[in-house]
């Protein structure tokens, strides 16, 4: 006993540390065994000149609710899960514009929109259904991008697990029942790190140069024709912004045109007397920032030698009509020449082409079309597009609905034919003559499988510029492809205009837990307590007799009697 006592303070110390350790261990709740884990994609978070937009939070830890909640219920600690099929845009608009408190939003996109799901086959009515959803999605995207939302907003794709969860939630909300263990209360947990500012995002411009045939003894610089396309996108969910039409179609067209002209120019006998400059620019959604920096890097001689530049923007989902947008007035001789050349080829191909003129306002920083950057430096340029009206800022830059299924590769092939043929006729001075340079069934025919394979790749690659690193594999792939066709390829890295700031954390995993309510736990405790008491009484009665049980309760009173 004696040595035991002297060791007691030491033992107490070690006991306290043991207890502390036990408390620490006990406090870390296991979060890994969820019923369902779903990939979710966050709404974009960005600032324009310090003004915040988009969803400002990433972590989520709230109960789930559906649209069938009782009106007037407090949703500040609820994540509302909304399938796009049943989207009620007025509800969303109300909550966002009136800044009503909400725990979070989860939008469920139909499975077909998932570009990573290669196994999905598309039926006719599914495509029609998607067409209807396109307008709904576009409106939702516009609302979300231009709002400042203080809670997390996520997008996910429908699948069986989440559908069962949603139907459970709807059933509970319909009956107005609070969540219990058996009727299924769900908790949504996303443990994502706090979104950090992306420091100095880079934009990468790639240019390819195909030199023309210079006659011996001719000191003058050959004229140049430029074909420019911006390849990056901007959308509601940056991890899903593949922008197949805006502007994947343009990128594919540029690569195919480069391939065709490199074939033509490989033989000195067929090399034209024009240089060709191919430009893949970044920073398109941000007032064509990349194009501006690229042009500024040109030296004076090159700038003066450019005859005209053709920019391609969204040429993948049109039927019969394309538009040429210009900044110089249509009466201008150069513009007339370009337009006539295009019209002639268009007539032969059986499609219509219109001319749209939009004046540029130098004081306004907004650049709606890529050719405007050229026009500001007094280079003749035009944009070929299926859009008839200039898009607003951050519109038509590759959103959620800009999907592979809405893009028609035959439309792209026809656009390639139009552009390539028009440029070829200009180079070889065959204006108005009935000669086809890139005729079908010739070795210079447009290759539809090349177009298709690049289009498929582009429709699976999200390309939001701040999230593309300097050595992004896709950018390197574009560079490599252009090197195959052009004689000289240069890559230019620039910093994105300081007006735009972006935040990371675009993809996360959502854990869905089925939780029991507090009342259930308390009830269980009550039941167990009474069970143990009953067991105790039963055992005392059977082994020691009823008197012993009664004596257990009588002891305090007998003691009182004794002391009194």
């Amino acid at each position: 006993m004696f040595p035991f006592k002297s060791r007691q303070p030491q033992m107490l110390d070690s006991m306290y540390s043991m207890i502390a350790l036990v408390f620490i261990l006990v406090a870390c709740v296991e979060l890994c065994d969820a019923a369902t884990v779903v990939d979710v994609y966050r709404l974009i978070q960005y600032d324009i000149s310090g003004v915040p937009f988009g969803s400002r939070l990433a972590t989520l830890n709230h109960h789930a609710g559906s649209l069938h909640f009782t009106p007037g219920a407090d949703l500040s600690r609820t994540v509302v899960i909304i399938p796009i099929r049943e989207l009620n845009i007025t509800f969303v608009k109300e909550y966002i514009t009136q800044r009503k408190p909400l725990g979070g939003l989860l939008f469920l996109l139909p499975q077909i929109f998932d570009f990573e799901d290669r196994g999905a086959t598309v039926s006719e009515d599914q495509v029609h259904e998607k067409g209807l959803m396109k307008t709904v999605l576009a409106e939702l995207e516009k609302l979300l991008i231009h709002a400042n939302i203080p809670y997390p907003v996520y997008f996910a794709f429908e699948n069986d697990d989440i559908d069962t969860v949603l139907s459970d939630i709807k059933r509970n909300d319909a009956t107005g029942q609070p969540a219990t263990a058996t009727t299924g209360g769900y908790k949504f947990v996303v443990s994502a790190p706090e979104p950090k500012r992306i420091a100095s995002p880079t934009i990468t411009n790639i240019q390819g140069w195909l030199p023309g045939l210079k006659a011996d003894g001719d000191p003058n610089q050959l004229p140049t024709i430029a074909i420019v396309v911006s390849y990056d996108t901007f959308g509601t969910a940056p991890a899903l912004s593949v922008g197949t039409d805006s502007n994947g179609s343009g990128v594919v067209a540029l690569l195919e045109i480069a391939r065709l002209f490199s074939l033509l120019y490989s033989n000195p006998k067929t090399r034209g007397r024009y240089n060709l400059l191919f430009g893949l620019t970044s920073g398109g959604p941000y007032n064509y920032n990349g194009t501006q920096k690229w042009l500024r890097s040109f030296d004076q001689r090159l700038r003066e030698s450019i005859d005209y530049a053709i920019c391609l923007n969204s040429i993948g989902s049109w039927d019969n009509e394309l538009w040429i947008h210009v900044s110089k007035p249509p009466e201008n001789a150069y513009i007339k020449q370009i337009f006539e050349g295009f019209s002639n080829v268009a007539k032969e191909l059986g499609l219509e082409i219109g001319l749209k003129h939009k004046k540029i306002n130098i004081s306004n920083p907004r650049v709606a079309w890529e050719h405007e950057q050229f026009s500001r430096l007094r280079i003749t340029a035009a944009t070929l597009s299926e859009l008839s009206v200039a898009p607003d800022i951050l519109e038509s830059t590759g959103g959620l609905s800009d999907n592979r299924y809405f893009v028609n590769e035959t439309a792209i092939v026809r656009s390639i034919k139009l552009v390539a043929e028009s440029i070829a006729r200009h180079i070889y001075s065959h204006q108005g003559e009935n000669i086809k340079v890139f005729a079908d069934d010739s070795s210079l025919a447009v290759n539809p499988s090349y177009v298709k394979s690049w289009l498929d790749l582009l429709s699976q690659t999200p390309r939001v510029a701040p999230f593309l690193s300097k050595n992004d594999p896709f950018v390197m792939a574009l560079k490599k492809e252009l090197e195959d066709h052009a004689h000289e390829v240069n890559v230019q890295h620039e910093a994105l205009d300081g007006m735009f700031t972006f935040y990371d954390s675009t993809k996360a995993k959502l854990n869905i837990y089925q939780v029991a309510s507090v009342t259930f736990d308390l009830l269980l405790l009550l039941v167990l307590g009474s069970y143990l008491i009953v067991l105790f009484s039963f055992l005392v009665i059977t082994t020691r007799g009823l008197d012993d049980l009664i004596s257990l309760f009588r002891r305090p009173t007998s003691r009182k009697v004794k002391t009194a």
Binding site: Q514, L525, R544
Partner: protein, 228 residues
């Protein structure tokens, strides 16, 4: 709240052992030492069983019922009986009556079983956010196991410690002991061979444990009458 659930399941799984100890005269006669020794014997038995299972059993890919494997598992399960025999007869107990000896040994045996088989899953699983009924069912199973262990210890003490038994009852005693000893195989057959779900299996276990407890109580009191 998840810690709350862990606490609930823990008192369901381990509470009855403590209640049994304090409610019955075991606490008055201070038989804690016996229970602890029985728990240690169970530990040893479990290790031996583990080694035998690892050596002789094949790992099956699917969860179906293989009669040969189950027979082997049942044979290895009899090591349990051997361990109980060792705990009842070979360990030195302070002079406590047979009545209390088997109870203490059974209690220690069941407590060790619960701790070894149920504490770790409870700790890891019940603290998570996700709610399942599994841990409550596991607690009920622990209760059934306590009753079964005490009945088996009673029958064991009848078989090996009591010398003068009525002749007619001996085969019944051995039969009941056999049933209780092979209870694990029976439950695994129900789960895999017949495909019963956990709640049904636990209900069956509770029912049979109560039945077996009643039968062994009757047998024990019947054997006790001639000596008293």
């Amino acid at each position: 709240m998840t810690l709350f659930h862990f606490f609930n399941c823990a008192i369901l799984t381990f509470g009855p052992h403590a209640v049994y100890y304090s409610a019955t005269p075991l606490s008055e006669y201070d038989t804690l030492g016996t229970s602890i020794k029985a728990a240690l014997v169970y530990l040893g038995t479990a290790l031996v069983k583990l080694v035998c299972l690892a050596t002789f059993l094949k790992v099956s890919e699917n969860d179906s019922f293989d009669p040969y494997q189950e027979l082997l598992k049942a044979l290895i399960g009899f090591i349990d009986v051997a361990g109980l025999y060792f705990a009842l007869t070979q360990l030195t107990h302070r002079n406590i009556s047979q009545n209390h000896k088997f109870q203490a040994v059974g209690l220690g045996w069941a407590f060790a079983d619960s701790v070894l088989h149920r504490l770790a899953p409870l700790w890891v699983g019940a603290r998570g956010l996700e709610f399942t009924w599994d841990y409550i069912l596991q607690g009920l199973e622990a209760n059934a196991n306590l009753v079964l262990s005490i009945s088996l210890a009673a029958l064991g003490s009848l078989m090996w410690l009591r010398k003068n038994k009525p002749k007619t009852l001996i085969p019944i005693i051995y039969a009941c002991a056999g049933i209780v000893a092979t209870m694990p195989s029976i439950t695994s057959y129900l789960r895999r061979g017949l495909g019963w779900h956990l709640p049904k299996v636990v209900g069956f276990e509770l029912f049979t444990s109560l039945m077996m407890a009643f039968i062994s109580w009757q047998l024990f009191s019947a054997c006790q009458r001639p000596s008293s």
